[in-house]
Symmetry: C2
Subunit: 333 residues, 2 copies
């Protein structure tokens, strides 16, 4: 069988193209996959050459001269820039020259480029961004992490079905528990959107465990946490911000007391290990579920190692036929 | 001057009436205030008598035989139970027999009882729950913490004005910075509600610093964080849940490594101190801003010490004329 090829947006992200090219090289050295780097051919070639003898590696270049900036309105930018790297990358997939897209660039632009190039699965109105989060007992999937800021109840139900199908592959749970993020566990708790989505999820072909309070987000009670993109983004970023604040306050506390200082070094090492454990779960990127091909959105500040992991993740999701599984799950309604 | 009298719902909360009565005794011993305990007279009297010679303290009892359960729909429950403790407590204020209400019972019921008894200030469509949260640099006020699950932009603007007036008293900031919780700092980021509220806050008589990302919630960039009650509740509970999870994971990390174990005891002591620093900010309860009299809503699991702090807080807000200040701030639009 020919290897899986991932189309990689070489211009997306704060450290592009350097971190992207390095990550791509590491990915093809690590696994039997191919990468097409999409960006200005000369610039990408020069980056590749910095790494020495990489001409034998399964890496090709697709020329793309433009990029969607992080502060541009994505729809207008994509219309104005037909040679934008993320657009060319998505079109490689629609022309069957690649199997998946990876981008650490503008999330909205990736979303729109993917949508335009290979559409959405039958039964999907809104693709959702699925982020893996750490829990006390392992990991869980939160969907939507910010792709859709205005949602109707039907969208949340579709997120639940897609999230469960994805969790079977990504978390290897045979029958993942699906929870609906709300302000209380009782079915009646929440706003109109939540009450209507609750009723829809009860009838959906998933293992629905009901409403989930935000304090249970990290408890492991649900394998799939369903929410609208605004709430999901706030929840994830509160988590990030608090982890940083606790780390800093803990550092201050540890240096404040002469007695505690004795344990400071060891405790900080422990906290660093903990941070890595938490960060590892997010590593690589988040799949956009519901579009017609595997599409991985990565953090703008992705390092070469994060890019490597994201590309490997994209190939794995192609190999495990996650798009076909999502399609089947949606048909089962 | 006669002392300020706080009407205390003796039946509200997981540990009622015991923790409520103990907290009230501690409060009147600590400050020159009076308390009216609202609950079944016999039961409250028996609790008071457990504490020995308290007959000289400025504590009276107002008989109320019923309570709104935590899982009851509050509007229906208040209609069915004219002798509900929180209702009687609010009515003491409207009859000028008390200056403020404190309840650790059903938040929605307290909200509705207060609204029915003494209404809302001119210019207020929705009262908002203001919670004090810890930040890197001190504390901030988040409004609304969960009283209004469906909000329009105008409600968020009113929360900003009330939150700023409250922060001047509670945080002692002359010109508090007001931020709008969203998914990005740029004015255009967010959903329709946020964009419209942003425009309204720009025109409002507050020091508006623009949108605030959720990761900046604890950074101290804003003294007043404005959001709808659904988002506010999720943000606060994600914070609580993550703090608990980090504490537990840290404990596991510290006991996992033989080397780290050496510092475990000291580090845990530091973390406990940190937790107290974080918890202290929330201690006592949250004022419901926009109703016609000081109304403090406390956590259902409030201890006697939390009740004591909440009652003292209620008296302080009466003394500092916070309701009048809110009214003036709303008139200044």
């Amino acid at each position: 069988v020919p290897p899986i090829i991932v189309a990689v947006d070489a211009l997306g992200g704060d450290q592009a193209p350097r971190a992207i090219v390095s990550g791509a090289i590491q990915a093809v050295r690590r696994e039997d996959i191919g990468v097409t780097l999409v960006g200005p051919a000369d610039e990408v070639r020069a980056e590749l050459d910095r790494h020495g003898s990489v001409r034998q590696l399964p890496i090709t270049i697709a020329d793309a001269s433009d990029v969607v900036g992080m502060d541009e309105p994505p729809l207008a930018a994509l219309r104005r820039k037909p040679r934008a790297s993320v657009k060319i990358a998505a079109e490689l997939v629609s022309r069957h020259e690649a199997h998946a897209v990876f981008s650490a660039g503008h999330t909205g632009a990736t979303f729109m480029a993917a949508h335009a190039a290979f559409g959405v699965l039958a039964g999907v109105e809104r693709p959702g961004l699925a982020v893996t989060i750490p829990t006390r007992t392992g990991t869980a999937v939160l969907i939507d992490a910010g792709a859709n800021l205005e949602c109707r109840a039907e969208h949340l139900v579709q997120f639940g079905i897609m999230g469960a199908a994805y969790a079977r592959v990504a978390l290897r749970r045979a029958s993942p528990n699906v929870g609906l993020l709300s302000i209380g566990e009782e079915a009646g708790k929440g706003n109109d959107l939540i009450r209507e989505a609750h009723a829809g999820l009860v009838r959906a072909p998933v293992t629905f465990v009901g409403n989930l309070e935000a304090r249970d987000l990290f408890s492991g009670r649900a394998d799939v946490v369903v929410c609208d993109g605004f709430t999901g983004n706030v929840a994830l970023k509160v988590g990030e911000g608090l982890a940083e604040t606790i780390e800093q306050l803990l550092r201050e506390e540890l240096s404040a007391s002469a007695v505690a200082r004795l344990g400071a070094l060891l405790a900080r090492q422990a906290f660093q290990r903990l941070r890595r454990r938490v960060d590892d779960a997010e590593y690589g990127g988040a799949p956009l579920l519901g579009v017609g091909a595997v599409t991985i959105v990565a953090h703008g500040r992705s390092s070469a190692r994060a890019v490597e992991n994201g590309i490997v993740m994209a190939a794995r999701l192609v190999r495990e036929r996650v798009v076909e599984r999502l399609g089947a799950a949606l048909m089962a309604r």
